[in-house]
Symmetry: D2
Subunit: 282 residues, 4 copies
Amino acid sequence: MKQHATLLIKCEDRRGLVAAVSKLLSEHGINIIDLQQHSDEQGLFFQRILFDMTEMDISREQLESLLDIECGRLQMDWRVAYKDTKQRVAIFVSKYEHCIYDLLLRHRIGELDCEIPLVISNHEDLRAFSEGFGIPYHVFPITKDTKAEQEAKEIALLREYDIDLIVMARYMQILSDQMIETFPQQIINIHHSTLPAFKGAKPYHQAHERGVKLVGATAHYATTDLDEGPIIAQGVEHCSHADDVDDLIRKGRDVERVTLAKAVRAHLDERIIVEGRRTVVF
Amino acid sequence: MKQHATLLIKCEDRRGLVAAVSKLLSEHGINIIDLQQHSDEQGLFFQRILFDMTEMDISREQLESLLDIECGRLQMDWRVAYKDTKQRVAIFVSKYEHCIYDLLLRHRIGELDCEIPLVISNHEDLRAFSEGFGIPYHVFPITKDTKAEQEAKEIALLREYDIDLIVMARYMQILSDQMIETFPQQIINIHHSTLPAFKGAKPYHQAHERGVKLVGATAHYATTDLDEGPIIAQGVEHCSHADDVDDLIRKGRDVERVTLAKAVRAHLDERIIVEGRRTVVF
Amino acid sequence: MKQHATLLIKCEDRRGLVAAVSKLLSEHGINIIDLQQHSDEQGLFFQRILFDMTEMDISREQLESLLDIECGRLQMDWRVAYKDTKQRVAIFVSKYEHCIYDLLLRHRIGELDCEIPLVISNHEDLRAFSEGFGIPYHVFPITKDTKAEQEAKEIALLREYDIDLIVMARYMQILSDQMIETFPQQIINIHHSTLPAFKGAKPYHQAHERGVKLVGATAHYATTDLDEGPIIAQGVEHCSHADDVDDLIRKGRDVERVTLAKAVRAHLDERIIVEGRRTVVF
Amino acid sequence: MKQHATLLIKCEDRRGLVAAVSKLLSEHGINIIDLQQHSDEQGLFFQRILFDMTEMDISREQLESLLDIECGRLQMDWRVAYKDTKQRVAIFVSKYEHCIYDLLLRHRIGELDCEIPLVISNHEDLRAFSEGFGIPYHVFPITKDTKAEQEAKEIALLREYDIDLIVMARYMQILSDQMIETFPQQIINIHHSTLPAFKGAKPYHQAHERGVKLVGATAHYATTDLDEGPIIAQGVEHCSHADDVDDLIRKGRDVERVTLAKAVRAHLDERIIVEGRRTVVF
């Protein structure tokens, strides 16, 4: 897998795009393993190519130069990611442990192809747990007054650790616009409802009060517009009158875990292209 | 099955309720086939008893008198329904045929234990279809000006046909308060989203615009507060970026059909007790 | 949509395949709308291209000649299908009506892009129903002694009607090898279990006896090895101790309908490539 | 919750059973919180009663004596379990960590109402992990020759720890008849397929070879007939041609975890009555 890479492309659709890019790759000894292409009703072209560079006859820098020229000519947004360059992920938590626990298990057994060099929290609660996995745990207590200052420190730390992706594993603070704009499309949040239902606080309580027959969760990129970011994955579980709020919370935990992991995995596998409020997830 | 009946009970919870009712039944030769009881966190008691009257040593009138006395003493809301008395169902439709088609197939093959003596519509479109099933089809074209008058006629017709349940099988008119209050907890509607998400018009368009990864449907009792009635059943199907609005509509049709049928079946099987905005569905 | 077509390709994987085919298309004014490519662990290459010929500068015959040359050179199995050439589908039924009913509704509302010029049955039961949809209904009663002879007549009739696909909508006869070999990968069957569980007769009875907590259905291409054909789609529904055999049959009907329709739709959309006992369903 | 208890009953169905038991309870100040009763087509009666003893006017011993007399008279199998008496659970593991990890997380956050005083394994691999949770880890390496002897030691240890339930969390050894008969209906296993499909070894490999479109898992009580024990819960996940064996294993892990936890929880909540090869799960 070391010689594998992924190329993601977004542009206005027109004839010859697949041919142009696949020709460029094949001319330099690159084999396409998996290709998915989608054109939407607004005339946009999206493409993901997973390719094998084992017999590539140029350097990665040369490949990127050629892509830059060709994609520039075709007015394509593009990015390439190499399998041997692992993304660096920071997990944000508060007090709930089920999501971080799930992510760390998946990481340990090889389901998440990344490094997790740090955990950031606004509480001490999960320190022992995190450090038990050998991951440094940084606490930034947050009050209304200290929020801006503490987030500035967090951003500095995230930069120091060279973080590519932030996963909010039930982190119970609203991130400031500054944080979100520093990491555009690099922050994944799990909201414990099937958005746009039950935005905001205490969605399981809202759901119980409304008497719904499904509980769900939504993984989405954080944007400055709370609970309105592009949705990556959603899941649900059936519930009934016999489920009180605690049962909804319990059932919801399973949905949250699976849905968040699915979204993080899609991000790490370079399967996601964001377009406005929507995502293409190949 | 002819000698089967269902007893539904709702009251404030206190000790001895199950014993009191089950004693009354067993003393008169009645055998309980299936019993489900639930007490909620607000201290309410809900119970459904399916029983066999084959060896009952009193008449139905006498049974009801005894229930009236005992349930009165215990301050229970109760109702009994006999399997050999079929509910009479009116289907309301506009132009979409998938839900009515589904209901009529289920009725034909014995999944819905009821009579369907008439179909009411605001359009002529499905007349041949309905009459092909041998069901009279009544059209009441509705404009803003004629609505009150036409609904009054509909109510008269529904009474003439002695209708117990109205199923809105994608009927594209908002019922007046008068209609809804005439048939309290006797009108089931299918809304094509997982309420409370995407209330109101064109939910699939809203869903597509929002970029969701699930489409769903909600069957609920109609109340005067639009899309806020007690939810009976909900269903979902996964979707992706590759699904345009037409695909969402297509996927949604399957969810609508199954969810509406599930709710109607639960109603006909006397499984539902309404409490405020919520339902107990045994 | 009239100028759309689908190209399906299967061959041994090697470098340059995507480029070669996409170049050929783009050189002749063809725009690729949707492309999916998959290489499996056995080194096989599978590709589906949906393309738009509105500005194609050659004829369809010329396109096919060019594909024949290029795909021949690259040792590709290929087939092209034009959206304006509808497949002709024959439905085989016995006495159960839910699957045929479902298919005909989907056809009527535009979910299945095909013609359905005839229904074949071994029983008279569904004649009125089929003819009510305006579809000729042919009965071939089958006994052990007459089977070969009757199937020969069926094959003649299917040829006369120029049938591309046979859908066994709960047809309760085992097709002879002769029939299956006459229509290779052109016969879709729905089996009422999640194969390979509960092969053979009465799977819902087997399932109930075994005490399973899921009922399911499997749509697959018919092969001469009964219930062993390549699987196209599978679905399930939860069940419980409260479900007797009739409940399993009822729940199963919904799964059968949806699963069969999904498979037929995938076939008609030219999304399926068969490889041995497996299918690639793009 | 301390004064809550569950009564499970199984017997031949006849009139007055619900009344007799509920009368006994209510006469002694016991309030029924939740009652579910089911009679099957073979004429068997199953009942679960969750009740509150806060105002019970007799001792637990007296209650049990009365139940013994009354249930004896009615030829009922019965058992009562008190919420304040936690079951003691031993987890058996080999090398896979996802199931035990999941169970221990659920235990920690209060989803599983039990004690977990020991882990037994045939390998050293998960010692640090188990001990990190503060749970003693006992290794019994097993070869063909040592199996009987090692299992005898395990049984002695399980008795010493007063174990009520054994959970085989992907324990990769077949238990001997002796072990199984020592703990009848007290051993829950998770098999990584939807039984009866893909019994025996390497079900995901079998599933991939067969080209299925669903992967699943089955939690069941272990019996001396391998993979034939009464099924408690089953789950599935969709898969496709794009999933190789490793993907099936990955997807399957999620299904295994959730399905096993669901079964263990049902057992601990005293929701399960076994009848032959089937379970009633209230």
